[in-house]
Subunit: 135 residues, 3 copies
Amino acid sequence: MDADTLALVHQLYGAQSHHIDEGRAHEWAETFTPDGEFCSPSYPAPVTGTAALTKFAEDFAGQDGVTRHVLTNLHVTPADDGLVVRAYLQIVRTLPDSPPELLRQTTITDHLVRHAGTWRIRHRTVRRDDLKENR
Amino acid sequence: MDADTLALVHQLYGAQSHHIDEGRAHEWAETFTPDGEFCSPSYPAPVTGTAALTKFAEDFAGQDGVTRHVLTNLHVTPADDGLVVRAYLQIVRTLPDSPPELLRQTTITDHLVRHAGTWRIRHRTVRRDDLKENR
Amino acid sequence: MDADTLALVHQLYGAQSHHIDEGRAHEWAETFTPDGEFCSPSYPAPVTGTAALTKFAEDFAGQDGVTRHVLTNLHVTPADDGLVVRAYLQIVRTLPDSPPELLRQTTITDHLVRHAGTWRIRHRTVRRDDLKENR
């Protein structure tokens, strides 16, 4: 993986959590391709396309307290049509005047493609460490 | 953001937490410009300039247990006079023979400028997720 | 530290935790040199060489629940014969239908050398924040 590509990918993931955690729902949705798909066992069905992803991020922002998506262990590998990115994503929630709680430990596997001159996520699969069927 | 600049910024932040956590107070202070300013709601007033920042880091080292500044979600954007860096910074404290505790989840927003041939922090604002007025 | 070297190192560490956490024991062992040494106060003696390191990673995979090695604060410095890498490494364990637990906060200090056209770990020292003698 060359340094320039890796820099772009690190920046994409650097931005993404801040977008959803700060309530910038549309900017978060735009880290996916227009037909991007988000598949997580925490939600009843995949979320597909910019409008649905935006709505998903808006709903997320309505939760109690402050929630952060803490991303670590980013690893990038080439794929036929783009890149595969794996990372750990923790959900940390803080209620007012309380210590932070580590709510969930997940692993994301993303397929990235070039779109509009940059890298975007075409498909994300989330695995949760607490769900046996999901490992 | 080009790969060379991003590499320098990742290295600056890679070093910074180790400096304060290992008691290298002066080295930590020197990740800021000589007139660098550190603004956090955890402390009564901003800390400004190398001498005050060094003293601040020395006081920090005197706390019970081992404290680590765990930095994630680094995102770098260009600004008129330098760079803006956002990241999550967790405070994790471990007392002897005890499991680590996640004490605090914060977001830092730094303004970086070139100084003495490298990037340094001119201004840091810390927001704490547990303080309503600080989000 | 140039951007190309830093990219290779970030990728090495990006891959390493996923290897051991997903049960790819041999791939994990191969992030070390053939004579690589792993020294941790959590184990009675250093683990040395590919076969022993593979066995070590296999044993690790047999633990209860899902365990993740969460790596942050990567910092790379040049050394006479290669690179020194320091990072924080958290052990996070999740039991079925339970929230994740932060079991351990450690600091790793690695010596890297070129081997077979890439960077590998020749020596790792793990320090645990909960052990007084180990800081």
